[in-house]
């Protein structure tokens, strides 16, 4: 067992206890989108998922912002992983994450002010998204920078895709539009419930029920084939 002492990095590949098993970069990216999807499988980052998915633009913007923070914080955590002492790692990770969230918030306010206003305080709340701290602790702190970026990108894409899917449903049914373009015409009576808080819970609930249904069908088919 190699002791991870603080100091200059060792050149030989050492055993990092608890490190994720080696995988190709494509697998690292795909894992965040499918098997370990942050919203639909891990149920992390629930607060922004419910709160900002009332329109597609908002949901997508939140997803991309989270992806940006995931990639940048993963990169920095991985680059400095040998120098961040174990006792202060959580504080250091949170500091890094908070920095990039602040940057993302400022950049969004300068480039898309209407979306920034719509997202409101939920932009800085990305810091509290357990997904970020979880990935930094479980993955980025234990692998090289390239893998950390791939994982951050995969998780971010998975997050963005789930959020976009939920927002699209909520906006279409709740306002009859997508990206502010009226799609369903004037005779469509919007189901306002969908853009209100209970609608958020219900949309995700139905999405999960649908997902569980598909998994159950597959499981039964596999069992019958066996």
């Amino acid at each position: 067992m190699t002791a991870v002492a603080s100091g200059p990095p060792v050149t030989a590949p050492e055993f990092v206890p608890g490190a994720p098993p080696p995988a190709s970069l494509a697998a690292d990216v795909w894992r965040g989108i499918s098997r370990e999807n942050p919203v639909l499988v891990q149920f992390l980052g629930m607060c922004p998922t419910m709160a900002v998915t009332n329109t597609l633009a908002n949901g997508f913007a939140m997803g991309i912002a989270t992806l940006f923070v995931l990639v940048c914080s993963g990169l920095l955590v991985s680059l400095f992983r040998k120098y961040i002492a174990h006792e202060v790692r959580i504080t250091a990770f949170i500091l890094i994450i908070a920095t990039f969230v602040t940057l993302a918030d400022m950049i969004l306010a300068a480039t898309f002010p209407t979306i920034s206003k719509a997202l409101g305080p939920f932009m800085p709340l990305i810091v509290a998204n357990c997904l970020l701290l979880g990935r930094a602790e479980a993955f980025a702190a234990k692998v090289g920078p390239v893998r950390a970026v791939a994982d951050g990108f995969g998780m971010g894409m998975g997050f963005t895709l789930s959020l976009s899917l939920l927002s699209a449903i909520r906006e279409l049914l709740g306002r009859g539009s997508l990206l502010n373009h009226d799609l369903l015409g004037p005779r469509f009576e919007p189901w306002v419930f969908m853009v209100m808080p209970p609608g958020g819970f219900l949309t995700l609930g139905i999405a999960l029920l649908g997902l569980a249904f598909i998994i159950e069908i597959r499981r039964r088919r596999a069992r019958r084939a066996a």
Binding site: G18, I90, I96, A110, E137, G174
Partner: protein, 223 residues
Amino acid sequence: MTATHHHGAPAAMPPSQSTPAWKLLLTLALAGALSGWLVVSVYKVTLPAVQKYAAEQVNAAVHEVLKAPARWDTLYLVGNTLTRTAPAKPDLADIPKAFVGFDASGRRLGVAVTAAEPGFQELLTLMIGFEPPTGTVIGFKVLDQKETPGLGDKIERDTAFGGQFAGRMAPLTGVKGRAGKPPSEVQTITGATISSRAVIRIINNAIAKWRPLLEAWDREGAR
């Protein structure tokens, strides 16, 4: 034994040697310094765009609620008095302001102020144009609202509702189910009674607050 909490850290990983305190502090100090430098740099780069957008919003709102003034003066509320000189602060956004609008011939059109109070859900922010001597409303514009889409947000989209306010005198009262009679009645929006009443309440409170301040300003002459 480490006293810190383990967020899912596997059991087989205690640090083999405890790092000295000065190294911990150094790591945090360096991280803090790097973070601070990054944030300040990006802030400086993005600040002009943010300020420009905010100024555009205010200008468009003042232009709309005072019915196209040719120019306007900005007065700042410091303590309990209005003054023409801006206080020496880096961010003037949080200081209450009154915009006095004039038409092309120099005649005073009215005063525009912002007011924010809780509506149905979140804060409802309005820009209100009125004439201080009489308390007559010229118009209002919704700057920020998070009311119920399709119902409460009609206060922004329903031009008939907003159009009622021109010429009505504060304090306004809301009525349901029939047209509002001048001088002070306005009809609330069906299905958006609470949001409509919030608008009326905000306008009444703002005019009540700013009228004495503006009258004092007029009496003591421009400063």
